[in-house]
């Protein structure tokens, strides 16, 4: 029936000349860019740190040699072109096209790595621009080391703010979410109130709320209220905004639990609140740990906003230093501190979730 039809499922085309040339070109640009940058760093090190320059320059050879490795997949691809040709000439059609597939694969690997190296080189070049002006402005290491204790002690305020408002938000956000789904006609005013709260405070910028609460309330002169310490007011202000976001996340989590779970709980005689407490909320929260964590990290960064009400947190401290010495390196320290505290949290939660999965799957 199919006589005369000759099937050919090979990828079209022979040796991918264009792809192979592109791979060589990208590898060349990447390697040369890398070597030029390393050379420049070497000169800089010789000027800035004469004693240790020999060893530091020797260390630069490691990335230098690594950059040469960009050519390795290109060379392998070239070799595979030859063996593909040999196979084709000896009539091994399948082997020939398999070798060509290897050629394409290796070319793509070369391009992928080269592009990444080129991007990193461009970034480093940015710091070396204008006789290393960028590097000096952001990365003045002696200044970073000298001001580190001051920044670190100011960062303690960020940590306190974060921990206190984090706890408040996690609790208040859940309360808001439960109010948002309060059942029946009795729950209607609660639902409306909670929804209005969430809508309003997701709309107002956090910096505004902070200013109004932590700066405005002491101005009112109301007896008890204006005597509340600024620290407490700042925690309240941050929590007002972030708990509105968290309420939405909790609500999504609670609604993601199948209705049949609530039905099963109620059929056993549990009250509405018991079914939430023991069945619906525990399952809902499990589903939303990643977005909750995102909110927490956002809150952590928002603590830097307290600068607007004059509190001396790490950011404000670094700006004071920046103003005094006309250099932003202390601000870089703050950025690094924020990175250092947030990454372990991400990893911790990932591990927690993994353990939860393992526990449930285990026999």
């Amino acid at each position: 029936m199919n006589e005369g039809v000759r099937l050919d499922f090979s990828i079209r085309g022979g040796v991918p000349v264009l792809l192979l040339s592109a791979a060589f070109l990208f590898a060349l640009v990447g390697a040369v860019g890398c070597w030029a940058t390393l050379l420049e760093i070497g000169y800089w090190l010789r000027d800035a740190w004469p004693d240790g320059a020999t060893w530091a320059c020797a260390a630069l050879f490691v990335p230098g040699i690594a950059a040469a490795a960009l050519f390795w997949p290109c060379l392998r691809a070239s070799g595979e072109c030859l063996s593909s040709r040999r196979a084709r000439l000896s009539g091994q059609r399948v082997r020939a096209r398999e070798k060509l597939a290897d050629v394409r694969m290796n070319c793509r690997v070369a391009i992928g790595y080269s592009v990444s190296v080129i991007l990193v080189v461009l970034l480093v070049q940015f710091f070396l621009l204008n006789d290393r002006a960028v590097a000096k402005t952001f990365l003045d290491f002696p200044l970073i080391i000298k001001t580190f204790p001051l920044i670190l002690s100011a960062f303690w305020l960020n940590v306190k703010l974060f921990v206190a408002s984090g706890i408040v938000c996690l609790i208040f956000g859940l309360v808001l979410a439960i109010a948002e789904i309060a059942p029946g006609p009795a729950g209607k005013p609660l639902r409306m109130l909670a929804t209005a709260y969430v809508d309003i405070f997701r709309a107002i910028p956090a910096i505004l709320v902070l200013f109004l609460v932590a700066f405005g309330i002491p101005l009112t002169g109301v007896p008890v209220l204006s005597d509340v310490p600024q620290m407490v007011l700042m925690v309240i202000a941050l929590s007002i905004t972030v708990s509105a976001y968290m309420a939405e996340i909790y609500r999504a989590g609670i609604l993601s639990v199948q209705w049949s779970q609530a039905a099963a709980a109620r059929s056993l005689g549990m009250t509405y609140l018991q079914s939430l407490r023991y069945v619906v909320v525990p399952q809902g929260v499990r589903n939303i740990i990643p977005p909750l964590l995102n909110s927490l990290i956002a809150l952590q960064k928002d603590t830097a906003l307290v600068t607007v009400v004059g509190a001396i947190d790490a950011f404000n401290q670094s700006m004071i230093i920046a103003g005094n010495v006309y250099n932003l390196s202390a601000v870089t320290t703050v950025a690094i501190l924020f990175i250092v505290v947030s990454i372990p949290q991400t990893r911790l939660v990932e591990r927690m979730m993994q353990r939860d999965r393992m526990r449930r799957v285990r026999a």
Partner: protein
């Protein structure tokens, strides 16, 4: 006037404009096993859910032990303590172990002491043959095992009546018998039960009374011998014929 244990009097239930249950009446005596059969959409599941207060009814009333459970002054949570339910899709709590699933409601609803609850739960898991799975999570059990746990969870509340809503419909055929064995065992011990099912052979064997539901009402009821042996009404005959035809394939 003698009253039955459960009396359902002319109840109706509408979803939107559609009448799912239309002036349905039914009575169940203590220790009876009443089976509801009928085509899908005939109102079997809805009837069971009304009995458990998971649906509110639009008319009529239901009495259990002489006490009305459908007027507005009733505490449905209290009603549900005495009326257990097992669902088609098991609905075990996936974040709890098998043992915790069985222990949860007695602990927080009945507030029995921990030792007492654990003893009961262990005994019930043994009865459904799953004591070795007490520490396992539901995701790791087969459908049949999950359904057996669900039954243990329901009877841990020591209900006066048990509602079984097509409990074998979601199971692979080879797992059906392990679940039905437990229902048979419960029936033998005098548990009052209402069950919606498509397992006609089982219904015939275990039921005290079979009700054929059609269009939201009891179309014909009688002993299993009457309904399966000599159905009087044409719709019943037709339904049973389709079922037995399908069985023969």
């Amino acid at each position: 006037m003698s009253t039955s244990f459960i009396e359902i009097e002319e109840i109706s239930k509408r979803y939107g404009g559609q009448k799912v249950i239309d002036r349905l009446s039914l009575s169940v005596e203590e220790h009876q096993v009443v089976t509801l059969i009928g085509p899908s959409g005939s109102g079997k599941s809805t009837l069971l859910r009304c009995l458990n207060g998971l649906e509110t009814i639009d008319g009529g009333q239901i009495r259990v032990g002489g006490e009305c459970i459908t007027d507005r002054g009733v505490d449905l949570d209290k009603v549900r303590r005495h009326i257990g339910m097992v669902f088609q899709s098991y609905n075990l709590f996936p974040h709890m172990t098998v043992l915790e699933n069985v222990m949860l409601a007695p602990a927080i609803v009945l507030r029995h002491s921990k030792g007492e609850i654990e003893e009961t739960a262990t005994r019930l898991l043994k009865r459904v043959g799953l004591l070795d799975k007490a520490k396992a999570y539901p995701d790791h059990l087969s459908g049949g095992q999950q359904q057996r746990v669900a039954i243990a969870r329901a009877i841990a509340m020591d209900p006066m009546v048990l509602l079984l809503d097509e409990i074998t419909a979601a199971l692979d055929p080879e797992l059906v018998s392990e679940v039905l064995d437990i229902v048979r065992d419960l029936a033998g011990n005098g548990m009052t039960m209402l069950l919606a099912t498509h397992e006609m052979r089982f219904a015939r064997e275990v039921s005290s009374k079979v009700c054929f539901l059609y269009d939201g009402a009891v179309h014909e009821e009688g002993t299993p011998e009457q309904i399966f042996g000599a159905p009087k009404r044409s719709r019943t005959q037709e339904f049973l014929r389709t079922i037995t035809d399908a069985d023969r394939l």
